[in-house]
Amino acid sequence: MYGGGGGGGGFNAPSTASGRRRNQEDEEEEEEEAGEGRVLEAWERAYADDRSWEALQEDDSGLLRPIDTKTLVHAQYRRRLLLRSAATAAARIQKGLIRYLYIVIDLSRAASEMDYRPSRMAVVAKHAEAFIREFFDQNPLSHVGIVTIKDGICHRLTEIGGSPESQIKALMGKLECSGDSSLQNALELVHGYLDQVPSYGHKEILILYSALNTCDPGDIMETIEKCKKSKIRCSIIGLAAEIFICKHICEETGGSYTIALDESHFKELLLEHAPPSPAIAEYAAANLIKMGFPQRGAEDLISICSCHKKIKSGAEGYICPRCKVNVCELPTECRTCGLTLVSSPHLARSYHHLFPVQPFDEVSSIYPNKLGQKGGQKCYGCQQSFINPDSQSSLHVRCPKCNQHFCLDCDIYIHESLHNCPGCESQRSSSS
């Protein structure tokens, strides 16, 4: 199992690999096209990709210890949560939930750099896929399109649309990089497309930028001005170093500019763009849109669907509540009467943004007697006991509304995925 030299030589691998990486970063600024001097051996690569040394930290006495990931993760999450809730608490919750987003992916030469494993391009593609899924999960009625920059030219990979699968498929098929990148071309192209979307939609561009330069045909300032006028919000995530023009674009259009430190940081930055940003009132006109919630047809009903003109039994389609025509999938617009048809679960996916769970208060059980009264020793959600034989500190949290106690894992789960407080939901509020 532990064959060959893996045992002996393995210890050198981390240091050489990390050293290499650091060197590479330094050199990057001067000569971007520096070829790979030496190819890593297969066994070296396993360590280099893994970066196991990053999971170690020195404690007070200088000993190496694995990082206590659980508390670290929780602390990180609390920071994020508090930040988010502070933002929403300030103003009345107004979020742009109908978003039209173009993802611009830089596939210039710089994207083939190997400082991210296996390459910047692969990392970007991998996380863009996760991002697109997450985006549609959180913004059900939104649309995404993909644009790539290659050889100084922009190319629209996919039309803006509402289906994650087709976008991802198109992206995965087109992964090769060459030439320069051009911010102006990208902005011009996307601006042209975004000008056509309905006024209630929020127009956004997200650029995943690998290059450190831009090769533009004209004055980019004019383009930025144009975008600003069209109320397009422009955000950039850089993979290399901060560039002035990127910062300028983001500042002008109200977006955010961030630089990724490593792969996990990049992922984090990218996913920050998935939840809808607080709406800026002037950016999109609020409107009430008339929508239908069609039902699935009954088994015995046979009709012709309006989209493919094929005969279908009712169970395969949905029936427009206004004109009773059969459509194949949701969300769509009724071909006959033009009513926007959605399924209510589709809309409901975004409701947790409207009614977020309040952040829980941290409680450390220094006074076990006080909270030992009623179910205080167990997490209300998962019934796990707070008394942990391994660690003395049994930190946990309490919902300020229902006063139930939760363990840290449940805390994360409740705020990140469930979006319900089990305690509050298990109590009939007297107002209802």
């Binding site: 199992m1 060959g4 002996g8």
Partner: protein, 360 residues
Amino acid sequence: MPQVMVVARNFMDMVAALPASKLDMLYDSAFICEAVLRSLPPLAKKYALQMLYVSAPVVASAMEEWVLSDYATKHRVAIDKLLQLRVFVEVRDRRKEVSYKMNQKFQGNMQKYLVDGGSLPREPMPSSVTARLPTLTELEAYALEQWECFLLQLINSSQIEGGSSFSLSMMRTFQRGLLSSRDGEAPRLTENGFQFLLMETNAQLWYIMREYISSAEERGVDPTELISFLLELSFHTLGEAYSLNTLTDVQRIAIRDLAELGLVKLQQGRKDSWFIPTKLATNLSASLSDSSSSKEGFVVVETNFRMYAYSTSRLHCEILRLFSRIEYQLPNLIVGAITKESIYGAFENGITAEQVSLAL
């Protein structure tokens, strides 16, 4: 994991091979029913459950409707298994149509189970009688020690120590198939035997039990009773004491042997003696173990084929000795080398290269 399943299934095949009358007798005990039901493949389990409250025979063709047409083979396998074990009984009516019906005894026992929940084969002794019971960890350590000792004996019968109660002939039965002995030579481990050593404890246990039961007839013991006792044993509560007085004679003889294997621990009180089932016993009916009970060792093999094994177990040492030359043996470290000679030696015994690398 699959190994355990395979061996355990084999055990059930043995049960299935019993004559119908014996099998029906086995189903008198609710525990056998339970163990048999749990050993079934998932689909068969479900069918059994579905038929639990159906007293009239169900036509076979109607049953086929239960599965999607693409999976008819799975259905066949499940039904065959149920028929083999006589959980379902085939009934033919006048029009020669095949229908199935559940074994009445089986059905009755299972229905009782659902109403009362599982009960216990026998009452544990009150703690006032039993002085001090070993803790669970002690018990586990005891079980493992016994088991390892037994294995050691098995592969290396020349070094018998600690006095085994297993008669030589009994040991021979266990060794059959695992060791091959040529005339005048010390017995050597065969390919199967080596494979056996690499199995998980539970699988090994099942294997030994199968041998034990199949050899029962030679010893003039009814295998049915042994099977039923063994399965019953697995439903006892871990770490509780049970009086030996409740056992029949056959069972009392068997329990001595089982204690030797580490399945139960025998203790002597002032008046009477009792046995305490260990984890090995309670895991028996569960055809898959939830925790692998083999001790984790750590073996490092260098490119020059020198081998370091951090293990305190003599069994590990013996296993390693089969294909390597042991150089030093420190309290918690075994240093050896895999040499050409040692490997040839292993090959001669029918141990293959894959098995060696698997062992490492």
